[in-house]
Symmetry: C2
Subunit: 306 residues, 2 copies
């Protein structure tokens, strides 16, 4: 409960312009680099190669959210396409995560579909996969419709995300499981502040729904991205996949969060994919990471004061 | 670490004659009845029927340990045979747990084998199963030899226990897995104070070895009794058996320990067997239960003082 209050409080404070301006100006001195690989594509490729050396896979996340103009969406989409072209020259896996609002979902579904199709086609050309991140509740239906439409056009290298804190998500999972072939789905708890009208407020319910969705997805033959740092859930997943002799899963953790767990999981033979954010628009992402854990805020404050 | 010190300390104090005499005289006022169904067979059958109503299975444990005379072993063996005869008239499952020292393993292997064969034969006649509990280290080889010998004589309704705190236990498991048909094996952490020459002292190692033995046994097709109250291990086992669609397991918990967990597991569809001690010689058993958890000692002291 206290954790919940901390998270809501910090996300609220982070939304204040004065705080936002201050943090943005202090930038990297505050330890942003612990969670964000850098501001340029070149920075992130260095991180990708370093992780690859350690037996860890990666997925790139170009930071940028809540774009609300056509021009903004055009600029972001071009940046995504540029990233895919650059990845084409890399020897490592090619996997990007994209937020639908970057493609214009905040402007209109049609604009987002147009841009998402451009991204899906370029990804197919360069042999890359693309995941549509799940943002806050107003964008859930639109995101699922993007996925369903493009998947129906043959773009099976597309995947999306379901958040276990939403009441609707188990139903959304069942709907996705009707697709052929079975899609890849990332399961997360959920990162936004959502009301009790749409989301479980009790951590135990969020966690229990996470487990149920994860087992259901694996049992149904979908490829599941187990995206969490929750060590109980991780241990139980290890037990489940050992019992099932399942191979259609991978763990996904955020860059900079529990790096020794990341390596330990890979050492135990699991596929581990690290989600690597980069870009200039890091503020919202950084705030959410701080909001997840008071110790992260303490770390930042120490850097600020000491 | 503190838990370990508490347990060793309390088991040490419990061994003191003055303390032992006092506790034995105060008897049931101290809350022994929370962990021991009663002193007579009639008491325990009432408990068995009540648990059966709640969807819980049972295994009876006639209390009595460290018998060191032939006469003592004869008396205990007769009590075990009497229990098997009485169980023959019950509609519930018939399952008893027996300590090899009750059968005379503290006197000689030959005496224990003679008595264990009598018990195995009577159990076969009445359609009952018998588990040979595992006591402290001096009796491990003898107990495994009793099991192996009688199993080889066709007594496949016999099973035994392996303790994950012993270094030797994984090897003992592999040896038992060579038996045909695969035997039933109860896995426990281990209840006695054993030195670091023979046993893991670090709880994490005891727990990790528990998991490894459990998964290995299930994967090999043995019937595994998952005997623990450790909720992490229990949850991971639930995940494993769900993944494996395994049926060759059951949870086993002690009478009076985490009764709501017992019922919740049964409600989730697992077979749950409750280990029900009874008899006049309850002191050693009671001391070990107190030693497992300071809160249990507090419960008893409150009963004593208040
Ligand atoms: C690969 C990946 C992709 C994601 N994509 C999305 C998405 O598309 N949409 C969305 O809504 N959310 C997404 N998320 C975020 C997710 O919803 C959660 O907000 C976030 O992962 C924290 O929850 P948790 O599962 O780690 O569990 P929690 O219960 O929050 O935490 C579990 C444990 O991990 C620790 N921990 C968690 N976060 C941190 C941190 N930042 N620093 C240090 N320790 C931490 C906690 O202290 C705790 O011990 C994604 C997460 C990952 C890993
Ligand atoms: C059915 C059964 C048969 C057994 N047979 C044998 C045997 O043949 N040989 C042998 O050496 N040992 C035997 N044991 C005992 C076992 O080795 C452990 O000493 C005992 O089960 C406690 O360990 P645990 O696995 O519950 O884990 P722990 O790590 O000790 O405890 C796990 C959790 O359960 C709680 N807990 C554990 N015990 C109690 C208690 N008494 N009261 C309240 N809470 C408790 C703890 O507080 C903790 O939260 C048996 C246990 C069971 C359940």
């Amino acid at each position: 409960m206290i954790e919940g209050l901390y998270r809501r409080g910090l996300l609220g404070i982070a939304d204040t312009p004065a705080v936002a301006d201050f943090v943005k100006s202090q930038g990297w001195k505050l330890g942003v680099g612990r969670f964000v690989a850098g501001e340029t594509l070149e920075d992130v490729l260095r991180a990708v190669r370093a992780l690859h050396q350690e037996g860890l896979s990666s997925i790139l996340d170009l930071l940028g959210e809540f774009i609300d103009t056509e021009a903004g969406a055009e600029a972001m989409t071009n940046e995504v396409l540029r990233t895919l072209d650059t990845l084409a020259q890399e020897d490592t896996e090619r996997y990007m995560s994209v937020k639908p609002t970057q493609l214009g979902l905040g402007v209109s579904f049609e604009l987002a579909l147009y841009n998402a199709r451009r991204v899906a086609e370029r990804a197919a050309e360069v042999g890359a996969r693309v995941c549509l991140d799940m943002e806050n509740v107003p964008y859930v239906d639109g995101t699922l419709n993007l996925l369903r439409t493009l998947y129906g056009e043959g773009h099976h290298h597309l995947s999306t995300v379901l958040q276990s804190y939403l009441y609707r998500s188990m139903g959304d999972l069942e709907a996705l499981l009707t697709l052929e072939p079975k899609p890849a789905i990332r399961i997360v708890k959920g990162a936004y502040r959502e009301s009790e009208a749409v989301a479980f407020q009790d951590k135990r319910q969020v966690d229990d729904n996470y487990r149920e969705m994860l087992y259901r997805g694996l049992e149904a033959g979908a490829h599941i991205g187990v995206a969490t740092h929750d060590e109980s859930i991780i241990r139980e997943t290890e037990a489940f996949v050992r019992g099932a002799k399942a191979k259609n899963y991978e763990f996904q953790l955020l860059y900079g969060v529990k790096p020794s767990l990341q390596r330990a999981l890979a050492a135990r033979g699991h596929k581990v994919r690290i989600y690597i954010p980069y870009g200039e628009d890091w503020y919202g992402y950084f705030s959410r990471r701080l909001a997840e854990r008071p110790a992260n805020l303490a770390f930042v404050l120490r850097g600020l004061l000491g």
